[in-house]
């Protein structure tokens, strides 16, 4: 190999190194749901019929097999300004259920929230934005039954334009909402929005 070609090889390696360092320095953010997963894109090809609602029973565990989520569920109230409270941030694998609302599987809208991350890194719902229509959300309840929901849509809302009624209003079948942070991140003001997974009950295990 001539010195000249060795020189070119070293220059190319330097370029690759620069690119790696530059690209790697850019911030990695949690997965963002694609527009195809929103309600606006229409229902999923594979839509399961709604199952009959279950009698109320408190949730104890939440699983999303598709993204390997398997977390205990704690109870949530409201903050002083009426927002949904969140689970303690120190526990990275913990979901929370709004305890004055509907229990998962019962008729109405069960509300679950969890952290996308904490100060140490990704948390329970880091991958929520990677879910797709038709994926399953399973909630193990105190009565021993597991309520199985199918994902109807994954939407992203800016904090300032959060649609309370669409997310929190009681449905007339058994539905679920799983909420976490997302929609872009700014060092100054944190996450710019919420990712919300909408689902309805399709069966019981």
């Amino acid at each position: 190999m001539s010195n000249r070609s060795k020189g070119w090889g070293i220059a190319a390696a330097a370029c690759v190194g620069i690119w790696l360092v530059h690209n790697g320095s850019e911030n990695v953010t949690p997965p963002v749901p694609s527009a195809a997963q929103a309600f606006a894109a229409g229902p999923s090809v594979h839509t399961d019929a709604a199952a009959d609602p279950l009698p109320p029973s408190v949730p104890v565990r939440l699983r999303i097999p598709e993204t390997d989520v398997d977390a205990p569920v704690t109870r949530l109230g409201l903050t002083a300004d009426g927002a949904l409270d969140v689970p303690p941030a120190a526990d990275r694998n913990l979901a929370g259920w709004y305890e004055d609302g509907t229990t998962p599987g019962a008729k109405g809208t069960a509300i679950i929230a969890g952290h996308v991350d904490n100060a140490d890194g990704p948390a329970v719902f880091y991958t929520l934005g990677a879910l797709k229509k038709g994926h399953r959300i399973e909630v193990v309840r105190q009565d021993g039954r597991t309520a199985v929901f199918t994902v109807d849509a994954i939407e992203v809302y800016a904090n300032k334009h959060f649609p309370d009624r669409k997310v929190y209003d009681e449905a007339d079948r058994a539905e679920i909402r799983v909420i976490t942070c997302g929609g872009g991140f700014s060092k100054k003001s944190g996450y710019q929005g919420n990712v919300v997974a909408f689902g309805h009950l399709i069966g019981v295990k």
């Binding site: 330097a14 690759v16 360092v21 790697g24 927002a83 991350d117 904490n118 809302y157």
Partner: protein
């Protein structure tokens, strides 16, 4: 003819008699039902009210959330009357009712405590005149509003593995470059 007239009169009398008996009996029955119902729900209050029974209690709003103030008014206490309200069913204690600007109505208020479960709660008022009034308050919970604060950005940051790999490649290229330059320099000297 006489027999027919007699028969008719007899029938008429019988009907009248049955009617006369039946009507008070029916009323008496109604009375006993309602007073029965009241004595079940109010217990010994009925003794004080002298059989006056309960009057209606107006709650505004009739459906309230924790933290909300409910205004109670009733005609039961009479003009310039006073009363004591009982909201212990939902843990709001007792409250006073005083004549309002409409003199025939007494008014009082209580606040729905923060940690009351949703559901129906009986509110009663005992008036100075011995009458009582009852009504039901429906407690509902405001759902959450607004977005949730579920992240601080701890997962957001540079891809350290990629940066490390890039730095390693750069270092290797630098070492290679120095080695090549040295060789070139020594080769030139050799000539």
């Amino acid at each position: 003819m006489r027999t027919t007239a007699r028969l008719l009169t007899g029938t008429a009398l019988a009907v009248a008699a049955i009617g006369a008996f039946a009507a008070p009996a029916a009323y008496a029955n109604d009375d006993s039902w309602s007073s029965n119902g009241e004595s079940w729900s109010s217990g010994d209050e009925n003794w004080n009210s002298g059989g006056g029974g309960h009057e209606s209690l107006e709650l505004s709003p009739s459906s309230a959330s924790p933290g909300e103030t409910v205004t109670v008014n009733t005609l039961a206490c009479g003009k310039h009357g006073h009363g004591v309200g009982d909201a212990n069913s939902l843990g709001a204690g007792e409250f006073q009712l005083k004549p309002s600007t409409h003199k025939e109505v007494v008014v009082g208020q209580f606040t729905v405590p923060e940690h009351v479960k949703a559901g129906s709660y009986g509110i009663s008022v005992a008036c100075d005149n011995g009458k009582t009034a009852k009504g039901d308050l429906w407690v509902k919970h405001r759902g959450p509003s607004g977005h949730v604060q579920t992240g601080v950005g701890g997962s957001v940051g540079p891809d350290t593995a990629q940066v490390t790999a890039g730095a390693a490649v750069l270092a290797a290229a630098a070492v290679g470059g120095v080695w090549l330059l040295r060789r070139r320099a020594s080769g030139a000297q050799g000539h």
